[in-house]
């Protein structure tokens, strides 16, 4: 139990636990100290200098974001001098920023813009110090516009510490300081895994997702095209945040919306998640029972994780599930199964994926196997944020739309499919079905709480037909090493593997915390979004993928059996190391 501290902020007496920063303490008494570089999800970098406050007895001002409140401190958060200094600092920042808000991807959604508006700054006070830095859209997933950077350092922290990727870093110094892929190379040549966490945490338009929305509009306009769409599990839980309805499930309204936008068929990635489970659970059963390939089995739904592994953990390739990610599976099924059933020329189908993710933009051209249908299986990927923009462009009163249903035969999902969006969800869904495959019996209780939640690494033992199955779930790339090293150590020592099954998601919280999701994510927001998914799961009559009647139909009519010849051809992929990045 932490000691508690008594102090005064603006003459208000308060008591907070020791270690509470002045910023947090002020919040507890309804005082909002303005900040710019501080993101509630990240530790303070203390770079911007906006959150300065005065402490009685000292002629120095302190940064509220990183200074812990001390016993008997008397803090003033606002006085004419403080406000004037904050204003001067903001004006300095503006003198080194393009200020082209009207044509910026973050217009109306920018933390700098908002602060400048709050301070009522109406002129560019100091002479412009222009930076001539090139835009980098080489990945076609994450776009860097360093001219707009205010050097808050969030992306650097996210890339190096949260994600352990080390693609981004600061280069040069003084006024020339800028963020860039380390070594000043193109982002596509860097270790970047396109997770987009940098873009989700950036306060300005300096890092954005690659903007694919115009392509979607163009396809929708083309009378020769047959546009179909799928929404990822996590999108339904977060899209409401862009419209002032956080924590609400928008599945039905999203179906209705997408139809209104002009899509001929509206599918759900959750259905494909059920397919993934059929394949992956079978794979697990084979490895566990028949020993075809080594255990543990590691999930591969996350393209950033796949990219990370191919760059840094090539020794794990044999453990990787060969199963494609759900949206790729839906892509290939739409252009084969769905096209055949409905007599549609697959060459005319445009598959658009609405994803919480920037990495999926990269994934759709990752390898030739992403053309398993004979065409590019998924044509366009747009993020949750892009869809929110598109809704506004279309002028649809989204939140008041009547709910609609998805289109069969690629829409109806089991509860297992929807929890894919949260960390631990794939593991839980897979175990529900794997248990059936291995024992031939259904689980008495399908809720596997041990793998839920935002704990960095979750380890659990699940009883499957009397056998203890050891599983691990990691999310946030920096947390992966711990799990993989345990496997490596066991391998080296020739001991029994510490796990049978490992789930990894690149983004903290899983897809609900994805790099393409609405801004200002924190653990509370992640938990809120996850709750939406688990409630959706709970409300479903069918909660296991193998029980989904449309899945049964898919296998009966088309795929025949999991890991069958057709499945292998359409739904599975291979991996290769990119040894240049070996650590």
């Amino acid at each position: 139990m932490a000691k508690s501290i008594q102090a005064k902020i603006n003459d208000i007496l308060l008591r907070v636990p020791e270690g509470t920063t002045i910023l947090e303490a002020a919040k507890s008494v309804q005082i909002k100290i303005p900040t710019l570089c501080k993101h509630p999800d990240l530790p303070p970098s203390a770079s911007c200098g906006i959150c300065i406050v005065r402490v009685k007895g000292s002629n120095k001002m302190l940064r509220a974001c990183c200074t812990p409140l001390e016993e008997n401190m008397e803090i003033t958060t606002h006085d004419p001098e403080i406000v004037s200094i904050r204003r001067s600092v903001l004006e300095l920042i503006l003198s080194n920023h393009p200020n082209d808000c009207l044509i910026c991807g973050r217009n109306n959604n920018c933390e700098l813009q908002k602060l400048v508006a709050d301070f009522g700054i109406s002129e560019e006070y100091f002479p412009k110090i222009k930076r001539d830095l090139p835009k980098d859209d080489s990945t076609k997933a994450v776009v860097l516009e360093p001219e707009k950077c205010i050097l808050c350092g969030r992306c650097i922290y996210v890339c190096q510490d949260m994600q352990d990727v080390w693609a981004l870093s600061f280069l040069q110094r003084g006024i020339k300081t800028r963020f860039s892929p380390a070594g000043d190379i193109q982002l596509s040549e860097s270790p970047c895994i396109k997770c987009g966490q940098c873009s989700a945490h950036c306060p300005t338009g300096a890092i954005l997702e690659y903007y694919d929305t115009p392509k979607v509009w163009k396809a929708l306009q083309d009378p020769d095209k047959y546009c179909v769409v799928q929404i990822a599990p996590a999108v339904r839980a977060s899209i409401g945040e862009a419209f002032g309805y956080p924590g609400k499930n928008f599945t039905g309204k999203l179906y209705a919306l997408l139809r209104r936008l002009g899509f001929k068929a509206v599918f759900d990635t959750n259905f494909a998640a059920d397919v993934t489970i059929m394949e992956e659970a079978s794979e697990f059963e084979q490895r566990l029972v028949k020993g075809t390939k080594p255990l543990p089995l590691i999930t591969t739904c996350c393209p950033s994780w796949v990219d990370f592994m191919e760059k840094f953990h090539t020794d794990m390739i044999e453990h990787f599930s060969s199963c494609k990610s759900p949206h790729e599976i839906l892509g290939v099924l739409s252009k084969t199964y769905y096209a055949q059933k409905n007599n549609i020329d697959p060459s005319k189908i445009v598959m658009v994926s609405v994803m919480p993710c920037t990495s999926k933009k990269y994934e759709i051209t990752r390898s030739d196997e992403m053309h398993a249908s004979g065409y590019q299986d998924v044509d366009i990927v747009m993020t949750t944020r892009e869809l929110a923009g598109m809704i506004k462009q279309a002028g649809i009163d989204f939140t008041n739309l009547p709910d609609e249903e998805s289109d069969t035969i690629l829409g109806e999902y089991a509860g297992a499919g929807v929890i894919f969006g949260a960390t631990g969800g794939v593991m839980e869904a897979a175990l529900r079905t794997a248990n059936y495959f291995i024992t031939g019996k259904e689980l008495a209780k399908v809720d596997l709480e041990a793998v839920r939640g935002l704990e960095k690494v979750k380890e659990a033992e699940i009883d499957v037909g009397g056998k203890k199955i050891r599983v691990a779930v990691a999310h946030g790339m920096a947390n992966v090493e711990y799990v993989l090293n345990k496997v490596r150590e066991a391998k080296k020592a020739g001991k029994e593997m510490p796990y049978h099954f490992i789930e990894v998601m690149a983004c903290p919280g899983g897809c609900i915390g994805g790099g393409g999701q609405p801004y200002m994510v924190t653990d509370e927001v992640r938990a809120m979004r996850a709750k939406v998914l688990y409630e959706d799961d709970k409300a479903k009559a069918v909660r296991c993928s193998h029980q989904n009647p449309y899945i049964k139909r898919l296998y009966k009519e088309f795929l025949e059996k999991p890991l069958g010849e057709k499945s292998e051809k359409l739904l599975h992929t291979t991996y290769k190391g990119v040894p240049i990045y070996r650590r």
Binding site: I85, S88, L92, N96, P127, L151, G174, I175, T177
Partner: protein, 583 residues
Amino acid sequence: MDKKIIYIRDTGGVSGTAMPDKTKDVHSLLLNGLRDRGMQDSVQAVRVADIGAYNQGVVVKVLPDTAYYGVKDEDLGRILDAVKQGTVVKELTARKEPKQLRIVLRNCGVIDPESIEEYMASEGYQALKKVLFELKTQEKVIEEMKKSGLRGRGGAGYPTWMKWNFAKQMSVDQKYVICNGDEGDPGAYMDRSVLEGDPHSVVEGLMIAGFSVGATIGYFYIRAEYPLAVERIQKAIDQCYENGLLGKNILGSNFSFDLEIRLGAGAFVCGEETALIASIEGRRGTPHPRPPYPSVKGLWDKPTVINNVETLANVPYIVNRGGDAFAKVGTQTSKGTKVFALTGKVKNSGLVEVPMGTTIREIVFDIGGGVYNNKNIKAIQTGGPSGGVIPKDFLDTPVDYENLQKLGSIMGSGGMIVMDEDDCMVDIARFYQRFCFDESCGKCSPCRIGTAQMLGFLSKIAEGRGEIGDLDNLRRISQSMQRAALCGLGQTAPNPVVSTLRYYEDEYKVHILQKKCPSKKCRNLLSYKIITEKCKKCGLCFMNCEAKAITGNKDDGYTIDMNKCVRCGRCFEVCKFKAVGKE
């Protein structure tokens, strides 16, 4: 060896600066001379760094008490002959020894810095022995430091014993002590001279610091631009290991201590302690918010004490003589001595060590010999880019931490630059601002953009484009930097501007309103004119003007077209009759 000769090149001297390798020539000449006279086995020649001889060229000391100043190569023979005969070359010894008190520089120029035996012969490692076997406890050592009143010589003047005590009170498995040898102020070389001239005293100081706080590992952080300092410290460390003064169970006690050198790559900001720690850890050298202070959470998150070279060089002296004896020197708040690098427009430039409380006038006139070329003193500058100017009206101020701060400057690490009537205060402010601009690490916006904007305004004023509102802008940016910059360097970077504005606002106004530089320093504001009364129509100026701004002929005389003039000053220089006027 019955005789020893020590010689130096005066690092601050005018005569010596042209040939950086001067001492090396003297070295071979001396060795050859000794060999020629068959004295090579009885006389030893040693090269050392600056010993505080000002403007004296090469100084040769024949121990114990003879010193020759301004020695030229051809004088060496006579000196060696005298050594052989046991006489003195009288005419080369002329030099008035200034009244200084040498505590920090006690051994510099007296002993061979590469010989641990000589250091031991002059009280060397006695302090360590006293600490280990007499004082025995950390508390007692810190008590002595407290009595001595020693304050950090790096600039801020924080009581050394308090720093030690904070770290001592932390009960953790590992602590560190670091010697900060990243001296970077323009014109300052006190630390370098101590590291080069008396490395063992700093090593001993650091060991005592290590004992007092309970650290077992110490680092020397020395900038790579000081190769001789690095070499000498390394040698000192090696000698300590050989003599059982470093390593396990030092001198049979249960105190174990290891020392290593880390090189700084020349970034000014790495002298700031949190940036220094980041640099040692292998990260980008940028400051971090304090608290936590390094003495609580420093290098690799362990309690770390960082002391400046000069501070540490005081430590053995204090332990040997007792804190009370040390505290007798100095003023009420500032104890002991301070080493200054006296430079600028002063007759005898070089290192000066004076008791705290000595007046600026005593330093500049009594020790420094007054202003070069007998011009009038205008001001002195202390504290480098973090300090300010002190006008001549305050020359009788006794030097200590508080007094200098009251005048708008700081003690800093010990640079003291004398300025005469030819020095323009706008130009001085601009010089320091350019330094800060170049050296800003770029992390926090107030410093990164503030230094750039301030430099812009100062350049504008110096180039004749100034507007009266620029002064307010300078003040406003200064205020926001002083209040909102992250580290001490950023907070003090506006000091040269603030202090020149405080004392010399009129000079700024002349630049802005009359577009004139009273000191005739700012090139763009100069205008040249032929004074017809003095002109002999020789045409020398005409022939030398590369800009073809001078027209006329030998009959009619010449005129300068200021629109064409590039203000190179060539005509002014070549005119033998002082007929070219500059204003």
